[in-house]
């Protein structure tokens, strides 16, 4: 991963979450996924495109994703990653937990100074 000083490191599991959320919205192939993550975060999160793949494989192994054939934007046949039911459940749980964490941190940051 190329690091630049003004960007923070991602917390563990963040990448998987973002991938799951994006794929949940729409099943995509690797390139499209990378593009989407870049677009949405407005380049804020610097993610090397290749590093998606080990993460994708891990999620395939855990059973949260599955592959099927689809079409790319250029109408080429590509392999597309899709979220499974188990993946959806995992996404919901993780989102809830992350929101709780952020809420807690926010409260501490807001009130700690008093």
């Amino acid at each position: 991963m190329v690091k630049r000083s003004e960007h923070r490191d991602l917390f563990p599991g963040a990448l998987e979450l973002m991938i799951l959320k994006s794929l949940n919205w729409k099943p995509m192939h690797g390139y499209a996924l990378a593009q989407r993550l870049k677009d949405i975060s407005e380049d804020y999160l610097q993610i090397e495109e290749g590093s998606l793949y080990p993460a994708l494989q891990r999620m395939l192994k855990s059973g949260w994703l599955e592959t099927e054939m689809g079409l790319s934007a250029r109408n080429r046949p590509v392999r597309v990653f899709k979220v499974t039911d188990a993946g959806k459940r995992h996404l919901e749980q993780e989102l809830a937990s992350v929101e709780r964490m952020f809420a807690g941190v926010t409260r501490v940051l807001a009130l700690a100074g008093q």
Partner: protein, 894 residues
Amino acid sequence: MNWLRQFFSRRRRYEELSESIREHLDEKIADLMDRGMTREKAERAVRREFGNVTLIEERSREVWQWPTLEGAWKDIGFALRQLRKSPGFATIAILTLAIGIGGMTAAFSVSEAILLRRLPFKDSGRLISLHELIREDPHDFNVTAPDVLIFQRESQAFSGVGGYIGAGFDVTGAGAPFHAMAERVTASLFPTLGIEPLLGRTFTQKEDENAVPVTVLSYSLWRERFQSDPQILGKTIDLDRRPYTIVGVMPRSFEFPLDAGRLSHRDLWVPMSFTSAEKNSEGENYDYGLVARLKAGVSMAQAQIDVDRVIAMIQPSYATISTGLHLRGYFRTLREETVRNARPLLSVLLGAVALIMLIACVNLANLLLVRTAGRKRELGVRLALGAARRVILRQLLTESLLLSVMGGAVGAVLAVFLVRAAEAALPDSLPRLNEISIQWPMFAATFGLAAITGVLCGIVPALAGTRTEVLDSLREGNQGAGQGRSQQKLQSALVALEIGLAMLLLVASGLLLRSFAKMLETDPGFQSQHVLTASFSLPHLDYPTQQKADEFYTGLQHRIEALPGVTAVGFSTDIPTVGQNQGRLITAEGHVRRAGEGFLIASTYLVQGNYFEALHIPLIRGRFFDARDEGAGAPLVAIIGQSFAEQYFHGEDPIGKRMKVGDRFDSAMPAITVVGVVGDVKQGSLDQPTSNQMYEPVSQAAAALGPMAAMLGVVGNMDVVLRTTQDPALLTPDLEKLVHQLDPLLVLSQPHTMDEIVAATQSSRRFNTVILTAFAATALSLSLLGIYGVLAYSVAQRSREIAIRMALGASRKIVLLKTLRFALLLTAIGMAGGLIASIGLTRFLKSLLYGVKPLDSATIMGAVLVLMAGSALAGLWPARRAASIDPMQALRSE
């Protein structure tokens, strides 16, 4: 079953992964090209933004792998490739390991079978072998025939007592006639040992007491002569022309007695059946063995008290023949008896092999140190490129383990081979040779030791090397000076240790070599060249009187003398160097025994014909036996050996002096006159001390024993000795023919030339010497290899320094000499250590030496010279390489 499905679909996964990545790249390239980039630029940009494709693909694949198993497999493949790149190192390392592991396992296996393993009898720790001794006499005895019976009857500490004594029989009626080695045993012997026969039964007490002709066969005899006939029981076999009924067959592994290895293999056992002469022969013949089993709960000390008690009962019956003698009884465990003679040799062998193993480990350590040092750079580069330290260590570990495994495999093969060779080559006098088998636990232990050595010496320097010095090493392009020097010190210390150990072995083998040479130089007391000898035993049935036996001897002698080339023919109850002899207590007229002086026991040979001339035993005084001594009523005469004459007659002329059998002169025994003195002959092997000897004519043998003549019986077991001008072996068929002419049923056994017999007695010492010298040679070559390695490494390390010196003016010769000096210094240090160790340890060799002191200066000098010369040679190569360094090139290449 998720993982199972995953395993089988893995190939598909990999393909999918590759294709996904491919598609990703293609899409992106297409996009960029749409925006106006050229194909080339697009591809480069895409790859840059994607990252390292190969690395990413591999990381992604790893998700699907089982890290431990697959990683291990990859590591092994990697290690194999690394090893194949340095074949020299790998070969030497594997050979070193194989020699150490294989040799150690083989030596231990042999020792274990012979020394350590329990005897193959039930509860063998409770079996003891009983001996009697006369307090006033230093000789070692067994027991007398009557005492066997007394101990059987009276002792209370033993649950079983068995007596045994050797016997020989001519066997006819079972294939070609041959002479069988047998043992007469009391009926109680087999039950005491606790061995059940394979077929049938052993003897009953009644059969023993009534001299019933029954016999128990050995497994090998049953197999070879009777083709393992299952109907063997009840059939008969002719022993000395008398039919004996076969009542049992012993199991395959059974041997008794166990004392002399292959030589003691008994073909069959017969009941002891003491004759009345034997039963009345108190205090005469101590050749009967006695083995007993301690009762449960009885300790050795208690048994000794009981033995003393029985001895006290026997003592009074000694009064008739030997007043003033005190009888004692002692015993050893049967196992101790069996291994006593083998122990010194085998302990030395085991020690030597352990030393070799040590040297091999040290060598291996050195090899690995050198190798790891040489790869510092490679490791540094790999670390810098991003390899995990853990991975590198794991690979190094695998490499060391792989070496150990391969070395162990070759070592196992070597061990099997060595054990086979040992069974064939070990001297016949070692007991239990046929029980040798590979001891795999020892193999595992030595393998473990080698593996640990490999791991330590491969890993530890690598561990040290994968720290921050790595970057320094890359920067300088050479190993950091500090690191290299401490490693070199370690290596030098190891090599010095090796040399010390090699020195020890060299000294030991040198001592044995000198002992062997001394033995060969020893005068046996006769001339063994051009002499043929053979044994026969006249059966009592056909030769019931001594006269008949004498007729046979005379007839045979005349016929042999008629053969062309024969110069002398003689007969004797025993021949020199084979270690058999019958001892007799002798007292000279007028001899006053000083306090504490032992009795004179002379080995007695009964001879006939021209025995002395046949063997060229020199006459020193007086005369040989002749016709004067043969008639009935002829005065009793004897010829004595030189040691006998000197010891007993103290320099006076013994000719004409008289002596008697027994412990005093004023007895009813007949007087014997000394008529001649001959040179001593060696009765055992040449390195055994000479003992007192005397000769009597066969025809007078019974008369010389006076009242006890009945004990002797007819002298029918004889060795014939003949001297010829030609090759003696050629006469064997003629000799056999002549014997058959006189007696068609008589078996002539063990025809050998005297040279062969003498050589056979040397075989044990020859074996020791050869083995130890082989060990020393191995140790020497391993050490020299070590010197070479250290020196080569040091030269490579310091090539820059040497180059600078040479550029500054040092001549090539000086460089050469300095390098050599280092080698010799190392050797000298090692040698000094080895010498000190020799001083301490060579006294363990004492029992194996002959005619040589343990600190023999010639041997030590020799070892020093050999080692010095060897190390100078080993150091020459690296020294020359150092001297031939081209300073300009060496400095430039940095």
